[in-house]
Amino acid sequence: MNVIQCEKLSKKFGRLHALQDITCTINGEKIIGVIGRNGAGKSTLLTIIAGFLKPTNGYCQVFNENPFNNIQAAANSILIDDQLSFSDYLSLEEILKMGADFYPNWQNELAYRLLHYANIDLSVKHQQLSKGQMATFNLVYGLVSRCALTILDEPMNGMDEAIRTDFYRAILKEYIAFPRTILIASHHLQEMESILEEILLIDEGTVVTHASVDELKEQLIALSGPSDRMKSLLSETDVYAQQIVGGVSTAIVDASKLFITEEMLRTKGITKSALTASEICRYLTNHKGSDIDAIFD
């Protein structure tokens, strides 16, 4: 069964095209990173999947049902973002009690342990928490609810470095303990890359690529070598970025369009190196003329 299936999904807010022709399928229990720049449409996509918004065109299905205003979809999915709010009259402890009442797979003890670890006092109220604490609490709330589809939109915003590392590990451990589909939207791919299985890269409201992390990492490579030798090579492939420093040029190219053996490269004195996933995402979503240096020229 497909967990999420989007077909030619688009969403307009007035004149703004937030999403255009999103087609993607997510199946199985995976941790998937939804990556994109600010305003790429990540949050809009996630809120549509969570059933908060209605697509303007196309359709979106979650667990083979239209999630919009659907109570079964709501019972099996949870969206955690910085807008998550709770009544002013509830202490954190009571919030956990409420969560336990609603979500059948709720892990109350785990919540207590995680919050204790994060040094969050359970007797305070949600809006009294600091930004980082609130993000931590929200993430814990999302994790212990153990919904089949857990959507985390920028879950680590405001958390400090140490707690971020801890909670990426917490997400992983919770996932291993209770496999489910976890969507994590973030622009900090670097720090969560290792726990992801797939990456859904979104830019300007469309899906740029949807691949496993390893596949993504093989999409682009960096070549560097003497400029004259590079020139002929680069004409055959798509170049994403190029920099020439003192006769040595470095270029980011599409690996799938590079038909040349490693020996050939070596004899030409060109070295090949891999890029990190976050670098690849950056290059894939680089728009023409979006080079910051160009502005200062």
């Binding site: 290792s194 992390v213 070596r266 190196s273």
Partner: protein, 124 residues
């Protein structure tokens, strides 16, 4: 060992290499049960699927074998095969790189051989 995220080598290959290393170092004996993908995931803080991919590589090379419902075990001749493979593949590749680098740095063949001999003596 630590997984290097920013290393040019993909994580699953690093996992496969680590397991091979453990076999060579006798920390994983023949016919011993190896880590499951979940154990590896927790150990290295990586996605279980990635860890599984690392195991699959070894499985495909028949360095591991699967017992249904029990998990994966180290093949009897795993250590020998790894060692011979390393000799063949890795060493050849490294030699190639050394030679290429030597050419680039205009080091003569004699000088290169002497350097290798000298390094061997030092590390003995």
């Amino acid at each position: 060992m630590h997984i290097h995220l920013d290393s040019t080598t993909p994580i699953y290959i690093q996992i496969a290499e680590w397991l091979q290393h453990e076999i060579i170092a006798n920390r994983l004996q023949a016919d011993e049960k190896v880590y499951s993908q979940y154990q590896l995931a927790e150990l290295f803080n990586i996605n279980p699927a990635t860890a599984g991919k690392g195991l699959t590589i070894l499985l495909e090379e028949q360095l591991l074998y699967k017992k249904r419902g029990l998990g994966m075990f180290v093949a009897t001749d795993a250590k020998d095969r790894i060692l011979s493979k390393r000799r063949n593949e890795i060493l050849t590749k490294m030699a190639q790189e050394i030679v290429l680098e030597a050419q680039r740095l205009l080091v003569s063949d004699e000088e290169l051989l002497a350097l290798i001999q000298k390094t061997q003596e030092e590390l003995k």
